[in-house]
Symmetry: C2
Subunit: 199 residues, 2 copies
């Protein structure tokens, strides 16, 4: 059923190890977490970690790639859409929130990468590509008259995703919560504002 009867000695595999690692990286920061810290948390020795993964950085790479793949999957889905740009934009935002919620630890790690190594810089490059995509959509929606023209589209786009991405700072999954409610809240405030609608 849930356990497909794995061969060999039981213990961590790469997946279960990655979960713990990413969680710890988020708590103390990637650079602030030593492999000793991680091994202590796992309950195994440091050298055992290197049986599963060739380096500390590889753990980071696996995590941020998972986050980026999730986000780009939503982006691809959005692009193959018919309709007005503002509808595409809302779809992208909703999808992004859902990815944030479902892959919270991975996305959290991604959004904190600073570009110290080749791998981190590659992640930043993909992030920028995603941001460009959002900006283009906002621009188009403005051209179509659905987004307020009194603010630079690039600024609007960044504020929008600033709000979306800030979820990682405080959102914590509760059992039974679908994430769609959260996406609703984000879309309401981002698109129509927190003020009571006059009308």
């Amino acid at each position: 059923m849930s356990t497909p009867a794995r061969r060999g000695r039981p213990g961590y595999d790469l997946e279960s190890l990655l979960q713990v690692a990413v969680k710890l990286f988020n708590e103390r920061g990637y650079d602030g977490t030593s492999m000793e810290d991680l091994s202590r948390k796992l309950g195994i020795t440091k050298s055992a970690i290197y049986h599963h993964v060739p380096s500390k950085e590889e753990l980071l790479r696996l995590a941020v790639d998972r986050a980026l793949n999730g986000l780009f999957a939503v982006a691809a889905e959005t692009e193959s859409f018919e309709g007005k740009a503002i509808e595409k934009l809302e779809h992208l935002v909703r999808g992004s929130v859902l990815v944030l919620v479902e892959q919270l630890p991975f996305v959290t790690l991604l959004l904190r990468v600073r570009g110290n190594t080749k791998i981190e810089r590659a992640a930043l490059a993909r992030r920028r590509e995603f941001d460009r995509l959002v900006t283009e959509l906002v621009k188009q929606a403005e051209t179509e008259g659905d987004v307020r023209p009194d603010i630079d589209p690039a600024v609007t786009a960044r504020l929008l995703y600033g709000m979306v991405n800030s979820l990682i700072e405080w959102y914590r999954p509760r059992r039974g919560s679908a994430g769609t409610e959260l996406a609703d809240a984000v879309c309401k405030i981002a698109f129509d504002g927190l003020r009571t609608q006059g009308g």
Copy 2:
């Protein structure tokens, strides 16, 4: 005039050193920056740094305290205000954006603190206090009928400041830019949304 003729051997003082340090901390992350890295950037030896500051953490403390003092000054100003809660809230947001812009490097460092040490935890505690203040204001504004009641005020508050704080991720000061325009943009989108208003 601009130089009040300092005594002693010329070079860095605590202030000028702090500027460079905080900038580097923001580029590579606090944990990702060694005192050797910093000394290289400064053009002096590592031990020279310890003439100005007793420890690496003290640099962090000085920086985050400066950011927190700026934010709490605005908060105090806001509390001594007369008027509706929503007006207070807008004043707080505007003031926060201005502090963010004027003290960008310090606030940036503050918002990335993870709580690994006593000093970091103290900073996080003060941040939470500030967040409580914002939430209370949003709640009150909702009671007064000025903030949409269909979203949990705590969520609204967090999304609002998620947007505000996201400025540190992309805003870079340009000469001649006052920051008030940015505050305008933030308030417009946060309070009234990015969608074109149905007149």
